[in-house]
């Protein structure tokens, strides 16, 4: 009897490790921590310093934080960027900071700094996930 050509060897799925879930979650909440809990101390520290500094500078430049209240597409995109900063975004909302200041010319830069900080944290979270699943050292 000829072997079926449709037989395919099915590899068992790799179980999702706890670290593959925890590292991205912690990394989103506190930038760089997804790397720190995986013992990448320097990388995690640099990521934290970079993202935190960008976000805090954005606040200090009187930038505006976007909220999840809909509005036009640019507001929604701004919210998606801001929410990437995780704990920084949560604290900013809780303290009612980030009201923005039209009077300051650099306030617009501050707004963009905070959005970019969130977007960079998304990249950092993805990197932490790749380390957790062994795709990267």
């Amino acid at each position: 009897m000829a072997n079926s050509t449709t037989d395919k060897k099915v590899l068992p799925a790799e179980p999702v490790s706890m670290m593959a879930v925890v590292a991205p979650a912690v990394g989103w909440l506190i930038p760089g921590c997804g790397h720190i809990i995986q013992k990448r101390w320097i990388r995690g520290g640099l990521l934290f310093i970079s993202i935190a500094t960008l976000f805090l500078l954005g606040l200090a430049m009187q930038g505006r934080i976007y909220r999840a209240n809909g509005g036009d597409i640019l507001d929604i995109l701004g919210f998606i960027g801001d929410v990437g900063a995780g704990g920084f975004y949560i604290i900013t909302l809780a303290m009612d900071w980030g009201q923005g200041a039209i009077a300051f010319a650099t306030a617009d830069y501050g707004t963009k700094f905070m959005i970019v900080a969130g977007l960079l944290n998304f990249i950092a979270v993805a990197d932490a996930y790749h380390i957790a699943i062994g795709k990267k050292q």
């Binding site: 640099l46 650099t106 960079l120 990267k136």
Partner: protein, 63 residues
């Protein structure tokens, strides 16, 4: 207590942005430490170079 307000000029804001974005790009886009540093420096040069080129291009357009 008065809120802290920091005012950066355009180039300073661009330089700060380039510095920290390059650090994150270097760390997340490369594997070894040497490659991370090299790629981070490359990104920083591209960011600042782009700012200078764009600035001069806008000056030319305005003339």
């Amino acid at each position: 207590m008065d809120a802290v307000t920091i005012t950066l000029n355009h180039f300073s804001a661009a330089a700060v942005f380039a510095l920290f974005a390059s650090i994150v790009f270097g760390i997340t886009h490369r594997e070894t430490t040497r490659e991370m540093v090299r790629y981070g420096l490359y990104c920083f040069a591209m960011f600042l170079g782009g700012v200078l080129v764009a600035g001069w291009a806008m000056w030319v357009l305005r003339r």
